[in-house]
Symmetry: C2
Subunit: 218 residues, 2 copies
DNA sequence: ACAAATTTTTAGATTTGTCTAAATTTAAAT
DNA sequence: ATTTAAATTTAGACAAATCTAAAAATTTGT
């Protein structure tokens, strides 16, 4: 498995390319910041290796083996992110770039030991679930903060946008995973939200509310 | 800097290619398990970048920049080895392969944090010195066990051969870095040694004695 | 010092992953 | 149902890193 092949599998997975749903060449090219013709080449190569299903002009989908391979890479990426934050005091907006490199280190023992050192975390610093060694992973019960009805309460469990600008925005306004959030009022005009977080009242834009995941109370 | 370029610099450094001494094409090829013609190609490329001095048919030597770059890679390699042993319970014969991958991770912050986490170790698990962030490193005061005179005592401070077969041999016979060793007698016939280590008496071959470094007492 | 052996370099080919530009297929629109 | 637009693939090229085989330079041995 080359690094490039691994990155393609990861991209296809993130675009929802399960065994059933297939992903367009252009979409993969955009996700990977490469050209569609390069994607076509790689699609053939991965199909050759039995990692994807590829039919000309019909897009790409992952095979069962492809899914498991993608999950193994995502597992490594997310475990390294936890490691960087918990053990090396990286902030959550700094980890992605380094984890992109670390995820390609080939050593089963290494990642299992890191998992153990971290006491088998279930979620990464952005709230995304970490697949198990067997490739199982369950999407968390969550919804966008923007979808929460007025007066209801929730716990902040994840972010949709993981860009460092957004993450630093959250840090600045002291919004962190695990915080209790109550929707006080919605502004119809611009879909902004008045929320209560801890004992503070905040007014946040719709763009913020559509990038924060919460788990509804009760 | 590509991974391949980094590996060449490391190899040249290990072969003693300082600013003054130059290293033969064939020697580099052998060290890297590649062909001399490949070395010539890379020598040109590295010279182009100002990392080595290269004169046709005269071998390769590192420039000051090349030396500092090599030291940075060696620093990363050895720090990762310490991390694997101290934090993840790898044995010293398992770390090399993984460290060969980890040494190429590009993040100054990462390696500085690892250094901090390990409390700034001076030596790696095989007793080799770890260069500082500024590229300084002092070779330890050491000699081969085989060179120690009869009746003298020393502390085991390093290994010459780092192959896993040799390291596992040492584990099996409970010889570890830090152990006190006394040379009781030498056998002229085969240059084997009778040594006292702790309260045990051992008879070791010359091949073992020429691969163990000790620091002489007093 | 000169032939032989060794080392090193060159020339040309290969693989991987990428690109551009042109051709083809599929999808959309009138 | 055509035409137009968009997406996708092909063909050919390129850079990086490697290889083989042959040529050139250096070193060694007598």
């Amino acid at each position: 498995m080359t690094r490039s092949e691994e990155n393609y599998l990861k991209a296809i997975f993130h675009l929802g390319g399960s065994a059933t749903a297939s992903v367009a060449t252009n979409a993969i090219a955009e996700e990977m910041e490469t050209k569609p013709s390069s994607v076509t080449d790689m699609a053939k190569k991965l199909a050759e290796k039995g990692l994807v299903n590829y039919v000309k002009y019909q897009g790409v989908s992952l095979t069962e083996v492809g899914i498991q391979t993608a999950l193994a890479i995502i597992r490594k990426h997310r475990l390294w992110e936890v490691f960087l934050v918990k053990k090396l005091d990286f902030s959550w907006d700094e980890v992605h770039e380094v984890a992109e490199q670390l995820e390609h280190i080939k050593s089963e023992k290494l990642i299992d030991k890191i998992d153990e050192l971290l006491d088998y975390p279930k979620y990464d610093p952005h709230g995304d679930p970490i697949p198990t060694k067997n490739g199982e992973f369950q999407e968390r019960d969550k919804q966008l903060l923007s979808e929460l009805p007025i007066k209801s309460k929730g716990i902040c469990v994840g972010v949709n946008d993981t860009s460092s600008t957004f993450l630093r925005f959250l840090d600045k306004h002291k919004i962190a995973l695990g915080d209790a959030i109550e929707v006080v009022e919605k502004e119809d005009f611009d879909d902004s939200l008045f929320i209560k977080i801890g004992d503070r009242n905040l007014h946040i834009s719709n763009q913020i509310a559509t990038n924060l995941f919460v788990k509804k109370d009760g």
